[in-house]
Symmetry: C2
Subunit: 500 residues, 2 copies
């Protein structure tokens, strides 16, 4: 039997919505202890570099898992520990590996509109709407639009607490998960998980599963439950074109000494056409035309393109990729920053000594980082540039009239993409569809990047992303927040997955 | 009789070199008082914004002029006073207007390798060669390679002192100038002379002359006496391409939301070809092919192109303008700075909200600023951009998919160019040629800019530049300096001009 590429409303099995109502009822009755557990966890600072507090987080999480019957332990790594839990369900024929991270982005405390990013506060709405504070101890029930403001409120502590609350809710209704559940909580995700690849090798057996479920990122902007079958990868690099050894007077030498900012502009222009189509040879190689199923999946995403464009103040998208979901299926070449000499008050009338473009390239499954970088280097050389590592020396300067460097920075991550037809992924989507009585938003590829390719590499299982926090959570920025109605719905989504 | 376009060695009249030897002898005997006068002048801070010290400079200069028999006065303006002196010579049939400026560039005192930029120091050579200090009071004679380090040592107080020393030297030999001499000392040149145009109108009659001689800028790098018949003008502007209202996530929206840094690169690339030839329509309009005389003049400049390229660490010049003197005869379009979002440690994976290129355009006589800016705006519009003043509003953002601004900043100055065949300019070159027994380096156009077009506009006389300080004087930068051998030779050059 052909497995449908993705689930549409017409094929939903008529399943009872008992699970939804029983979990919702439990959550309504247990708002206070659930929020209490989240607030306590958010009060422990969790920047990856803060080793003592990271360990306090890890120990607290180990206790929280153990309290739910997980065999819980800390897996030591070359960096911060992984928190690991194993919950065996007698008779289960499937094992799920749930992934979250317990570290958060660095903070700039003075930019937060509260005493500290690690003193979570409850507001009767959005900070942007000037919502008041409420003392969580003084309220028995919160409203769906109320929000908690704290670092990692959404990214990524809320999903951890949602998983545990879902287990509690199921237990209260006399249910256990229908799959064995393994959970791994990363303590370095916001620092690019440097210790993860070796740790996966070391503890390989603990991560074996039939499906990996990543709880991270914001749900679709429509506010509907969301499943993503993949995420783009990324590689970043600085492209520098070298000019004279130091800036020279633009009057005394203008027209004669070549200008590296102009040459960088010409080089960047050679990489992309006016419509946003990348011109680097082979850049899109291996990406097959979309099948009808794939097109149907992309077309079904309820993006409100016009509303998004209006929100961003942009009249029209790139003409090569007029629809967002299609745009996200291709790799990008993005100039994320430019610098050469000075602009503004410090501007001087010089020919600059160099010009640099900071690039990020988002990748798809067909375009691994090393291939893309090689093609980019080939392109730069084809434009007549001699590529150097570091600074060009005098001999190089005397020999080559066009000199550039392309320096990768940070880690690179490959894309992953689980086929929508994968039986495990399909079962998960079916379970979420059944509990809500409507299919979730199903994304073929998230535009952003999650550093989970080490798992995929080592273990090869299918993986899906289940984002369960509000899309406007200020993730990575100051005043990160969690909308509580979205969080409570997320507990239902997790329960559906545990019962898939 | 046809006046030769410029003077070559073969046409030098066999004139006695008496003037040179008598001035040189006087300078040798009066090194100490000449340097003393320069050091005292350099000790008075002279940043244009420092009004009390500017006035101290002006009053001191008025006294110095009066001591040489000038009818000296301060001409009040809307800003800093002009110092003016008038020396009538009975029977003279020519009036020269000598121009220098007494203000200097702003200073960053901590970057100077001496207690203060306004505490001049004497070194036995170049700071770059770690030359020692010498107490000027302890030496009776200095060596030609010794240097004074102080703000305005070269730019532009040394020429003022050289003019007065030349008058003293002539007087000592029983000579007066052969022309009436008017001198005007600008107190705001480094601040773009904002009060000069109205002051010229106001004191118009005081500036009437047959030839204006501008003593400013460095002599040719060959170290030979130098005359320039003109200078390029300049206009500066910031070109901004607007993107989304604020930076957006390069993963979530990459390929879909257009990138303003990429579009700025494409726009800049459309303005100039790979050889450095500007593609803006009409950019070079009005510039006639060089005559044989003009070519001979350009070819006679003893530029050591290879040595300059090597010093700058550049393998080859722009292919459109392979020889420096020819390059300087054309207008430029120079990217003096670029900025968009962040590069380096602060880099974020975003599509930036905007990208800006700071441009300076050097101009020639045929390309006035307003024309060039209009052509540049036309070019930007032809590339599909809607030009705005300031920030685009929501309605503009909704209507136009490509939005940019071109904002001129600072003052613009037109180029000037006195024909090499001008009789007054020719007489000046002949006088300098006679005193040295060889023609000076004759530049058709200096690449840089001097703000003297208000004089040319109001009074229309021919003007030439006579730079008499060392080319490596660190002008405008910290540790500005004056090579004393060059300065003493400059006194000879001025004497030749006063006796032309």
């Amino acid at each position: 039997m052909r497995v449908a590429a993705f689930i549409v409303a017409s094929v939903i099995a008529a399943q009872p919505l008992d699970l939804r109502s029983s979990v919702t009822t439990w959550v309504d009755a247990h708002q206070k202890p659930v929020l209490q557990e989240l607030l306590q966890l958010l009060a422990i600072p969790n920047v990856a570099a803060d080793r003592p507090n990271i360990r306090r987080n890890a120990e607290k999480l180990q206790q929280m898992l153990a309290a739910r019957g997980f065999k819980a332990e800390l897996l030591e790594t070359d960096g911060n520990p992984l928190v690991y839990g194993d919950l065996n369900v007698p008779g289960a024929s499937r094992t799920l590996l749930l992934y979250c991270h317990y570290d958060g982005q660095p903070v700039q405390p003075t930019a937060w509109k509260q005493p500290s990013p690690f003193t979570p506060v409850l507001r009767r709405g959005r900070l942007a709407d000037h919502a008041d504070f409420v003392d969580p101890a003084s309220v028995d029930r919160v409203q769906p639009d109320w929000r908690i403001y704290a670092r990692s409120a959404s990214d990524d502590k809320a999903p951890i607490v949602a998983i545990l609350a879902a287990i509690d809710a199921l237990k209260s209704a006399g249910h256990a998960p229908t799959s064995n559940v393994r959970i791994v909580l990363d303590g370095e995700e916001e620092a690019s998980s440097p210790s993860l690849p070796s740790a996966i090798q070391r503890y390989r057996d603990k991560f074996r599963a039939d499906l990996m479920v990543i709880f991270d990122g914001p749900e679709h902007s429509s506010g509907r439950p969301t499943i993503a079958f993949g995420a783009r990868g990324m590689v970043t690099a600085d492209l520098t074109v070298f000019g004279p050894m130091s800036g020279v007077h633009s009057g005394n030498y203008g027209n004669w000494i070549p200008n590296p900012a102009q040459r960088l502009a010409t080089l960047l222009a050679s990489m992309k056409d006016e419509n946003g189509h990348v011109l680097v040879a082979g850049f899109y190689d291996g990406i097959a035309p979309f099948t009808d199923d794939e097109k149907a999946m992309l077309d079904a995403v309820p993006d409100d393109n016009d509303r998004m464009l209006q929100a961003f103040g942009v009249a029209a998208p790139e003409q090569a990729f007029p629809r967002l979901q299609y745009a996200l299926q291709f790799p990008t070449l993005n100039v994320r920053g430019l610098v050469s000499a000075y602009v503004g008050d410090g501007a001087r009338t010089i020919i600059p000594d160099r010009a640099t473009a900071a690039l990020d390239l988002r990748l798809v499954k067909e375009t691994p980082p090393e291939d893309v970088l090689r093609k980019l280097r080939d392109h730069i050389e084809k434009q007549g540039f001699h590529l150097v590592d570091g600074e060009p020396d005098a001999a190089t300067r005397a020999k080559y009239s066009r000199i550039a460097s392309l320096v990768p920075n940070g880690l690179s991550f490959r894309a992953f993409r689980t086929p929508a037809s994968d039986p495990q992924a399909h079962a998960l989507v079916a379970a979420v569809t059944a509990v809500y009585g409507a299919p979730p938003v199903q994304l073929r590829t998230l535009g952003g990047t999650v550093p989970i390719d080490p798992f995929i590499d080592a273990l090869g299982f299918p993986a899906v992303l289940v984002p369960i926090v509000n899309f406007d959570n200020n993730q990575h920025d100051e005043n990160e927040n969690l909308r509580l109605g979205t969080f409570f719905d997320g507990i239902v989504t997790v329960a559906a997955i545990l019962r898939m």
